[in-house]
Assembly symmetry: C2
Homo-oligomer: 459 residues x 2
C-alpha cells in the first residue's frame, strides 16, 4: 500500500520534474565528459523536489576503479551471435544474442529440470501473493494532496502542445488507471460515462479537462468494477532469499548468475532475492520497464538509506534482469519485447491507430521480438546503458518488455535483478556499509535482501 | 585493369563459394568459441578455390595479446551520445554517436580550415585520376575463362529459388553492369534490346537466361555507350603518402587518427595512405561497402604476400574508415547510410518496388541517415564487427554508405582506412615483417604504403 502511494507521488513528481527541467533535463550520466554524479542536470525548480542529497563521504572517481572495478558488460556483437560461457564445471553453455537494443541474451539449459521444479516447490511452500492489489481508495488522497493545478497537469499530458489531449496522450499515462490497464475502448467508455467529451471528437480540450475531477478516471473505474484481467499485471509471486544459509540450489543459481553477468560478486550478493512468479491461465503482464529512468534527483531503493538522501523520485536501479523459465507453457506466455532493435524509440508512437504495442493481451504478435518459454532457459538483459566509463548509464528504453497472456496452462518464471546505483559513490557507500555490518554480524536493516526477507514468511 | 579483372573473378568465386558452402558458411570469426583462424568454415568444394593457406610460423592465440594487444573499440552507448576525446593539446573535441549499426561517430572540427585547404592543394599538385575507368573489353575474357555453367549462374542468382529471375535478383548483382550502375529502367531497356524476355513479364526463366550470352549485359551497354553519371562511381581521386618524411600536416592527421581510433600506432602507420576524392557537380558514389565480407578463404590485399597465401577471394580488410569533409558543398553531396540502425539487414530488401535504396542519385532522401558535408568534420566508423575477443570479426553489413549526387559546386573529401587482417596470425606476421624491413632500411615492397607510393607520382 505504502509502495503504491509512493509510486503515484513519484509519477507526478517525475512529470513535474521533466516539465520544469525540460531545458536542461539530462541524466547525470548523459555525457561521458561529465563527472559521474549529481552535476549533469540543473537542480529542478519544482516545489516537490528536494535539494541534491549531500554526500557525507565523497568518493573520488578514481576510487571506484579500486573498490569495485569497472563493471564488465558483455558484448552482443550482432543478433544471432553465439558465445560460449563457462557457468558450470563439465557443461557447455551458449549465450545467444537476441537483440542489441536492449542488449539481450538467451541461455538454453541454464537451469536443469530438477532445479526448476525445486524452485517452484520452494515458492509454493512459502506461498504466493497477488502481484497487484485491486485499486483501493488509499491512493486517492495521495494525489489530492499534491498541489498541482489542472492547467499544469494538462500541459504535462499535452505532449505535442496542440491544446488538446489525444487518445494516445492519455493512454501513455496509464497511471491514470491507477493500476488498471487502460485501452482506447476504456477511454471512450469513461468519456461517455463521465460525459467528459460533449463534442464527442475523442479529444479533450483544456476546458473539458477542467470539468473533470482529479481522480475522475479512477473513481469511475472503481465504481464500475474491475476484473483481474484488466490490471496491468495479473499474476502471483513470492520472494526466495538467496543469501548465506539459503537452500543450496538457490545459492548455486546466484553463483551461476555471477558467472553469467561477470558483475562483482559483492554487488550480486546484496541484490534483490529471487522473485518467483506464477501466471495462471489468462495471466499476463503488460509491457513495462523493470527499472525507471535516472534523473539527477533519482535515488535507488537499495541505497537511499545509506546515502541519507530523501527524494521524491525513486526507482529500483535494476541494472540487469535475469529471467528464468521454470516450466513449458501449454499456450501463450511468451516474453515480448515490443521495440527491440527498433531504429528509434518514441513512447507516443507505441500507440498507433488504437493499437497499443504495450498491450500483451492483444498485440504480442506485433512485437519485434517474442521469446517462447522453454523450461530451464534464461534470458539476460541490461535495463541501463553503459555510461561509457565502466559504470551504469542511462535507462535503456528499448528494454520495454511484458508477459503475453497465458492461453493454456500455467506459466512459472523467476527473476533475478542486480541492483546497482548509477551514482557510483552511493553504490560504494552501500557496499562499504553492507560489508561493515556483515562483518559485525549485526542485522543490516537496509540491505535489500533483508528488507524482502522481513516482508515474507521464512522458509 | 588487373584490379578489375581480379575483382570480377572474386565476385564469381564468392558466389560459387557461398553457394557450395551454404550449409556451413560462417566466417572464421562467426563464433567467439572458435579459434581465430581458418577453422570456422568447412573448406569449400568449389573448383576455383585453393586449399587453406599454410601458416609457416604459427602464432598462438595468446601471442596476439602480447604482440599487438586487444584492439580498442569505442563505445557508442546510444545515438546522440557525446563523449570528449583528447586529440590535440588545448582543444576539446567531441565524438557524437550517429548510429550503432554501423558504429559511427561524427567529430566536428577534426581538421582546421587551413588543414583542409592544404590537403586539397597537395592533391591538386599531385594530380587526380578518374576513380572509375569506363567499361573496356579486358574483363570480358576474365568471365569467359571461368568454367561455370549457365544453370549454375542462374541458380546463384535465383535467391528465392522460384525458377525465375526477378528484377531485384538481377539488380542485386550489379557486377553484371561491369562498373555501370544498373537501374530497373536499364534492365527493361536491356531486356528489350536483347529480346531477352519475349513474354515481357519482367522475369527471366532459365530458358530465357540460357539464350543470353555470358556477357550480354556488358556487351549491350558498351555498344549503346555509357555516361559517366551511369557509373557506380563518378569522381576523381589521388593518394597522399602519410609515412615518415611526409608533409607535417599529413603526419599530424595520421597521429590524430591514431588518437581518435585508439588502434595500435604500428597498424595505422602501415595502413593505406590518405585518399583524396573530388566530386564535380553531378558526381556521386552509389552505396557500397568499403571492405568485403570475410570467408575462410578470403585474404587481405595488405597481408597476402607476407602470409604467402594465394586465394581467389581478396578484400581490402579496412577495419575502420575515417572520412574527412574538406569543404562545404553548395548543394547535395551528403554521405548516405541507407540502412543505419535498421532492425534487420537483407540485401534483397534494399530494392523495393523499383526503388533501389543504394542509388545515391535518386534515393538519398530515403536513407536512414544522411550526413551533410561540413568542412573539417570527420566521420569515423567500423566496417567490421568485433569478434568478441578483441579482434576484427565479421563484416558489418550495415556500414553500407554512398556519396549523394552533388547538385551544386564541388565536393572534396579524404579517406583514411585502417587495414587489419581478421586473421590475427597474418596481421602479426605482416607487422613483424614490416618492422624487420623498416629496421633494415630495405624497401618493404609489400607494405601497403609503398604499393600505393609506387603507383603514383611522388610529391
Amino acid at each position: 500500500m505504502v509502495f503504491v502511494h509512493v509510486y503515484i507521488l513519484n509519477v507526478m513528481a517525475l512529470l513535474l520534474y521533466v516539465y520544469y527541467t525540460s531545458e536542461s533535463a539530462h541524466s547525470p550520466t548523459d555525457s561521458g565528459a561529465l563527472p559521474p554524479s549529481g552535476q549533469g542536470a540543473a537542480p529542478p525548480q519544482g516545489q516537490h523536489l528536494s535539494p541534491p542529497a549531500p554526500s557525507p563521504e565523497p568518493v573520488s572517481k578514481q576510487q571506484h576503479d579500486t573498490v569495485l572495478g569497472r563493471l564488465r558488460r558483455l558484448e552482443g556483437i550482432k543478433v544471432g551471435h553465439r558465445q560460449k560461457v563457462d557457468l558450470v564445471p563439465n557443461k557447455i553453455h551458449y549465450l545467444k544474442t537476441l537483440s542489441l537494443k536492449p542488449l539481450l541474451f538467451e541461455i538454453a539449459n541454464f537451469l536443469s529440470e530438477e532445479e526448476c521444479k525445486l524452485v517452484i516447490h520452494l515458492a509454493k511452500l512459502k506461498g504466493l501473493q497477488e502481484s497487484q492489489i485491486m485499486p483501493s481508495d488509499i491512493q486517492q488522497e495521495a494525489i489530492d494532496e499534491m498541489d498541482i493545478s489542472k492547467e499544469e497537469i494538462f500541459n504535462l499530458l499535452d505532449y505535442n502542445q496542440d491544446g488538446q489531449l489525444q487518445m494516445k496522450e492519455v493512454l501513455t499515462h496509464t497511471r491514470f488507471g491507477d493500476g488498471v490497464w487502460i485501452t482506447p475502448e476504456n477511454i471512450r467508455e469513461i468519456y461517455t460515462g463521465l460525459e467528459a467529451d460533449p463534442d464527442g471528437n475523442g479529444l479533450l480540450s483544456l476546458e473539458e479537462f477542467k470539468q473533470l475531477n482529479t481522480n475522475a478516471f479512477q473513481t469511475y473505474l472503481r465504481q464500475r468494477g474491475v476484473q483481474k484481467t484488466e490490471l496491468v499485471r495479473n499474476s502471483k509471486h513470492t520472494w526466495l532469499y538467496q543469501g548465506e544459509g539459503a537452500h543450496q540450489i538457490l545459492r548455486a543459481i546466484r553463483r551461476r548468475v555471477i558467472r553469467l553477468t561477470q558483475l562483482p560478486p559483492e554487488i550480486v550478493e546484496h541484490s534483490e532475492p529471487l522473485q518467483v512468479v506464477k501466471y495462471d491461465q489468462g495471466g499476463h503482464y503488460h509491457a513495462h520497464h523493470d527499472s525507471g529512468p535516472i534523473y539527477a534527483e533519482t535515488s535507488c531503493f537499495h541505497t537511499k538509506l545509506v546515502a541519507n538522501g530523501s527524494t521524491p523520485l525513486e526507482t529500483s536501479c535494476r541494472y540487469v534482469t535475469v529471467l528464468f523459465y521454470l516450466n513449458n507453457v501449454s499456450g501463450g506466455g511468451e516474453t515480448a519485447f515490443p521495440v527491440a532493435d527498433n531504429r528509434t524509440y518514441d513512447e507516443l508512437s507505441l500507440i498507433q491507430n488504437d493499437v497499443d504495442l504495450r498491450d500483451t493481451r492483444r498485440n504480442c504478435d506485433q512485437a519485434n521480438l517474442l521469446v517462447k518459454p522453454l523450461q530451464g532457459t534464461a534470458l539476460f538483459w541490461y535495463n541501463y546503458l553503459s555510461d561509457g566509463e565502466g559504470w551504469v548509464g542511462e535507462q535503456d528504453e528499448y528494454s520495454l518488455h511484458g508477459g503475453c497472456v497465458v492461453t493454456k496452462g500455467t506459466k512459472w518464471i523467476a527473476n533475478n535483478w542486480i541492483n546497482i546505483d548509477p551514482d557510483v559513490q552511493r553504490q560504494i557507500q552501500f557496499q562499504q556499509a553492507v560489508s561493515k555490518y556483515t562483518h559485525e554480524e549485526a542485522p543490516a536493516e537496509w540491505a535489500v535482501d533483508n528488507i524482502y526477507k522481513d516482508l515474507h514468511v521464512e522458509l
